[in-house]
């Protein structure tokens, strides 16, 4: 699908919203309002927003760990209220404020999240198989990181999805760092996408900091899956601006990543580079950029207020969520 002017502006707007929500969540953690961990997604906004934009509302999504998947959810049409409230431990959160960030949004096909990286590989097969059976041409966007690519479950899932031609797009956010360990120490090749060849599925590498490159690659894979062509693997080379988890040291093994190193990563910033491109193309003007930022700031204030004003859950609800009534 050729993107119209409004579509491009929406992609830009959603990246801005994602970044601001990420910053707000970090602030909340520093102020003691966010009760759980936070794994910032700054640097991956183009990948999250650009890939989710290729999905229909009824397509299935397992968002990536970074930013707790919020860029994907925003890309799919959600706002950040239930996200932040969940992190605040409030009853208006997507999981009633009891999970921290392991939530699901069924209306948007967002099936959940879990801190156990790689657990999504097998479960994604079930959505893919069910989607194929019902013939609704839904697809599954299953995200993981370079760290997740080291999991054994990846093989079981890649293999079965390929053998049964399931409509799954495996999307790898390779920011080069699994917690404190560089991927070069845990994977013997340059490109994780090379794994695809072993399963007879397409595997491509894209610049994950370029939202248009992401969009085009994911759209092609989604189209292929929808048409019955089976799974694909896309590896997006991204960057991680912050530490693995807020409050933990930003180190590669034990060596602190330098400011110069981070500044170098930020030269490829997905939001800034896309803005410059759209300004050049005349899709955006400086005034429009200011307006988008202003609206995103207002949304942030509203989101924070919503979360602050919400009550925590009653402990008694916990019993009701374990077994069906």
């Amino acid at each position: 699908m050729k993107l119209e002017k409004d579509d491009l502006i929406l992609l830009y707007r959603n990246m801005v919203r994602t970044r601001k929500l990420d910053e707000l969540t970090i602030k909340g953690l520093q102020e003691g309002k966010v009760l759980s961990f936070y794994h910032s997604g700054q640097g991956s906004e183009g990948l999250a927003v650009g890939s989710a934009a290729c999905l229909r509302k009824d397509d299935y999504l397992w968002g990536h760990h970074r930013g707790h998947g919020i860029g994907y959810l925003i890309g799919k049409g959600l706002d950040g209220k239930a996200f932040l409230a969940e992190h605040y431990g409030k009853v208006t959160g997507s999981c009633l404020g009891i999970s921290g960030f392991h939530f699901a949004e069924p209306e948007y096909g967002a099936l959940g999240a879990a801190g156990t990286i790689g657990s999504q590989f097998p479960i994604s097969l079930g959505w893919g198989l069910a989607a194929k059976k019902t013939g609704k041409q839904q697809v599954v966007l299953a995200c993981f990181g370079d760290g997740g690519s080291n999991r054994g479950t990846l093989h079981e899932a890649f293999n079965l999805a390929a053998v049964w031609k399931l409509p799954i797009v495996w999307l790898c956010d390779n920011n080069g760092m699994a917690q404190y360990t560089p991927i070069k120490d845990t994977y013997p090749k340059d490109d994780i996408a090379d794994l695809a060849g072993g399963y007879n599925m397409p595997g491509v590498v894209v610049d994950g900091m370029d939202i248009m490159a992401v969009y085009e690659a994911v759209e092609a894979a989604v189209d292929r899956a929808r048409a019955g062509g089976g799974p694909s693997l896309i590896e997006a080379k991204t960057a991680r601006y912050r530490s693995h988890s807020e409050g933990s040291p930003d180190v590669s093994h034990t060596v602190t990543r330098s400011e110069a190193e981070i500044a170098e990563l930020k030269k490829r910033d997905p939001i800034e580079t896309f803005k410059i491109k759209l300004l050049k193309q005349g899709v955006l003007t400086e005034e429009m950029v200011d307006q988008i930022n202003k609206e995103a700031d207002e949304e942030i204030i509203e989101t924070e207020k919503f979360s602050l004003d919400s009550p925590p859950p009653e402990p008694s609800i916990l019993n009701k969520l374990i077994y069906a009534e």
């Binding site: 999981c95 699901a104 994604s124 079981e156």
Partner: protein
């Protein structure tokens, strides 16, 4: 009514539920063309086709994760893990997704899946092929752990498990698969999940067990009656978790004496929880300490010593006499 083995009764349950409900899908290693290593899924692929009876690769995480995914979507997968000892490979999919998706989705997703798997000793198979580790699953809130004790209740409970909105781990005793036949009605029959039954009424002593151990337990009850004139009440749990203690607590309030029997290792086995419930709810009615007859805290031994490991009627009678001694 036809007389059936447990294998035939389970096969009947699957056939009837698949015929009745298109969303029931069977999957696992060699369950299709081959019909399952124990023949429980025999003939299903001929009747329902490859779209509903899926032969999978050797990939337990994949099989179970796939089942969870399908269940979330609204299908009713029944997966087979060839031996319960192989299910440790899929442990994480059960504990992380099946048990938690309901909570994680604020109750908007249920996971109506069944994981069927043969468990327990008595067929002289080694290690993972003979274990009884129901505690792993019973210790997971969100999971239902069901263990039938004979062909008729196996059939009825499997039908109920398939229809249950929650994930059910369904242990089938290999030792019982072809041990005896029972009348199993052709017409539909279900049993409530989560409800124990009184297998035999009595007034002097309560024997509490489930699954394959119901046979030696009933044999012991018959021996006690014949040799000692003791009338034992025998409780068959059927569902290990969530554990409904009402029936066995009521029984012990009446008898004041109890023996708990399981083949799982002793420490932290289901018996520990059953005894705790009795201490909480029947303590002042107990005449003597509660006895446990269980497997030992070791890896189940190879066939030459399997009989030394598994509880039998003699051990149960010995424990019962101790419980009756004061």
């Amino acid at each position: 009514m036809a007389k059936m083995t447990m294998v035939q009764a389970l096969n009947l349950a699957l056939k009837q539920e698949m015929a009745k409900d298109d969303s029931v899908i069977v999957l696992g290693e060699d369950v299709g063309v081959d019909g399952g290593v124990f023949r429980v899924t025999d003939g299903l692929i001929n009747q329902f086709g490859q779209d509903r009876v899926l032969d999978t690769p050797l990939a337990e995480s994949g099989i179970v994760g796939m089942s969870i995914g399908m269940a979330v979507y609204g299908l009713k997968p029944v997966c087979e893990i060839q031996f319960s000892g192989f299910s440790y490979q899929n442990f994480h999919q059960i504990e992380n997704h099946a048990a938690r998706l309901r909570l994680r989705s604020r109750g908007r997703y249920n996971v109506p899946m069944v994981l069927r798997t043969p468990y327990g000793g008595g067929v002289r198979a080694l290690e993972h092929h003979s274990e009884s580790r129901e505690t792993f699953w019973a210790h997971m809130p969100g999971i239902k752990m069901v263990i039938p004790s004979g062909p008729r209740n196996a059939r009825a409970l499997l039908v109920s498990a398939i229809r249950d909105p929650d994930p059910v781990i369904f242990y089938e005793s290999k030792a019982l698969y072809r041990a005896f036949r029972e009348e199993v009605p052709e017409e539909e029959e279900t049993m409530p999940i989560g409800k124990p039954r009184i297998a035999q009424e009595g007034k002097d002593l309560t024997l509490i067990s489930y699954g394959a151990m119901m046979r030696p337990t009933l044999e012991a009850a018959a021996g006690l009656k014949e040799k000692d004139g003791v009338e034992a009440e025998v409780i068959d749990l059927l569902t290990v978790s969530p554990l409904d203690d009402e029936i066995f607590v009521q029984s012990v309030l009446k008898t004041g004496r109890a023996v708990v029997i399981h083949e799982a290792p002793r420490s932290f086995g289901p018996g520990a929880e059953i005894v705790s419930r009795l201490m909480e709810k029947a303590f002042y009615y107990l005449e003597v300490p509660i006895e446990r007859v269980t497997g030992y805290d070791i890896i189940i031994p190879l066939f030459s010593r399997e009989k030394a490991y598994l509880p039998n009627a003699q051990r149960i009678i010995r424990a019962a006499r101790k419980a009756l001694s004061n």
